[in-house]
């Protein structure tokens, strides 16, 4: 897994590795237990949100799909989730799973924040390998997933953060993305151009 960019260290601390936060984890009973114990020893009394990472290759040894693993963490630790919709799309595209099924398998009422971002295609692999690059506008597919996820959240809509780290466009372009997200959060249907 890459840069699980968890809001906090619960997931990454036990893999406090020497490669600057990148992660190779697997979704197993052992991982869940270790994460649980780290959480309870270091972050007691504070709710944390755990973010889904972008995945680029299939790793062996998982006992659960990621969404069920996250659900298991929620159940065991009382943490919330930070769902990065772009990461869901990138992982689903790279690994060949269905984004909607993934989102629909998450527990309800536990998403504390949503992230949106743009991705890019690998120069060699094209659409066969999408990269969570935060350097382009949010894609039409990701807007659709966001809209779907908001509908699933019902009245309890978590705050949304748009991530843009590279190739920053004019301020007005960023604000237009913000306005679009705000309108969707407010429940106004927006025509999405894919």
């Amino acid at each position: 897994m890459l840069s699980a960019a968890t809001v906090v260290t619960a997931w990454s601390a036990y893999q406090a590795t020497r490669w600057s936060g990148d992660q190779a984890g697997n979704y197993t009973e052992a991982s869940a237990t270790r994460t649980e114990s780290v959480r309870s020893s270091t972050l007691a009394n504070r709710q944390i949100l755990i973010e889904n990472p972008s995945l680029y290759m299939k790793l062996e040894g998982h006992e659960w799909p990621e969404s069920l693993f996250l659900g298991e963490l929620v159940k065991r630790t009382g943490c919330g989730l930070l769902i990065d919709v772009n990461n869901v799309f990138v992982s689903a595209s790279n690994l060949g799973f269905n984004s909607i099924s993934y989102l629909d398998a998450l527990p309800r009422g536990v998403i504390g924040e949503i992230h949106l971002a743009g991705h890019s295609e690998d120069p060699l692999m094209g659409r066969g390998l999408l990269i969570d690059s935060h350097d382009s506008p949010i894609s039409g597919e990701v807007w659709k997933l966001y809209d779907w996820l908001l509908a699933r959240c019902g009245a309890d809509r978590p705050p949304t953060l748009i991530e843009r780290d590279n190739d920053i466009p004019a301020f007005g372009v960023l604000m237009a993305e913000r306005d679009k997200a705000a309108a969707m959060m407010a429940g106004q249907r927006v025509v999405v151009h894919a």
Binding site: A13, Q15, R18, S20, A24, G61, D122
Partner: protein, 237 residues
């Protein structure tokens, strides 16, 4: 399937080797992890050593940072701690003989960062002990450098100074202090440096006076001490 720990070890070592790793880590997809890891380290170093970046240029800095990463991979996940030996590494590279001030500038970038990230002084009642001691403030960092690196450093940190940069080739002292969240940098002379050095471990006033007088008999101690306390570099315990 290997156990998680050995899998993670293999994964981590594959991040550091370009294509030499196990077959499963040789894919284009794995390159994304490798690039992201390398980029994270390079950009962390660039953020910690902005003056070095300005001096050598973006492309050169990237290459040097990648070489440094191969030489000394991060020892922990906190990247603001990474690069403690970057200045020493630069000094050991043959090519830096053409930029003899570069390693010193890196050292100054690091001292600035240390001062910036240092813990606050504990707030305590200002009741002086019967034999007062002088100590460094927790955020005080200083150095004596064989090159005019501080003049060069300051000129790059303050763009208004850039046009006038024409340093004499002399040794220089540098002092970083922090008030609130703001780090101040100043050029210091050898006398003031000897005072700071004498206070590296909290010391009674007479001891500090003797140390400074031995090193710089001509110096005016009350003036030096006044300057040390006024700048926030020293505290009286």
């Amino acid at each position: 399937m290997p156990d998680l720990a050995s899998f993670q070890r293999d994964f981590a070592s594959a991040l550091m080797t370009d294509g030499q790793a196990a077959p499963s880590f040789r894919s284009q997809a794995f390159a994304v992890y490798r690039n992201t890891s390398a980029r994270g380290v390079v950009e962390a170093l660039r953020a910690s050593f902005p003056t070095v970046d300005m001096l050598v240029g973006e492309d050169m800095f990237t290459q040097v940072a990648l070489d440094f990463r191969r030489d000394q991979p991060p020892a922990g996940p906190v990247l603001s701690d990474y690069g403690a030996d970057f200045a020493g590494y630069l000094a050991r590279q043959p090519w830096t003989c053409e930029l003899p001030y570069l390693a010193d500038v890196a050292r100054l970038d690091w001292l600035w960062l240390e001062s910036f990230l240092a813990p606050d002084e504990p707030t305590m009642p200002r009741e002086l002990a019967s034999t007062p001691r002088i100590a460094l403030h927790a955020a005080t960092r200083f150095a004596w450098l064989p090159t005019p690196a501080m003049t060069i450093w300051q000129a790059h940190r303050d763009p208004w100074e850039m046009g006038q940069l024409d340093p004499d080739w002399i040794a220089e002292g540098a002092l970083f202090t922090r008030a609130g969240g703001c780090v101040s940098a100043e050029l210091i002379d050898a006398g003031f440096h000897s005072l700071l050095l004498a206070c590296t471990a909290p010391a009674p006033v007479p001891e500090v006076v003797a140390a400074v007088a031995a090193a710089f008999p001509q110096s005016h101690f009350p003036q030096l001490l006044n300057r040390g306390v006024a700048s926030g570099a020293l505290v009286i315990l």
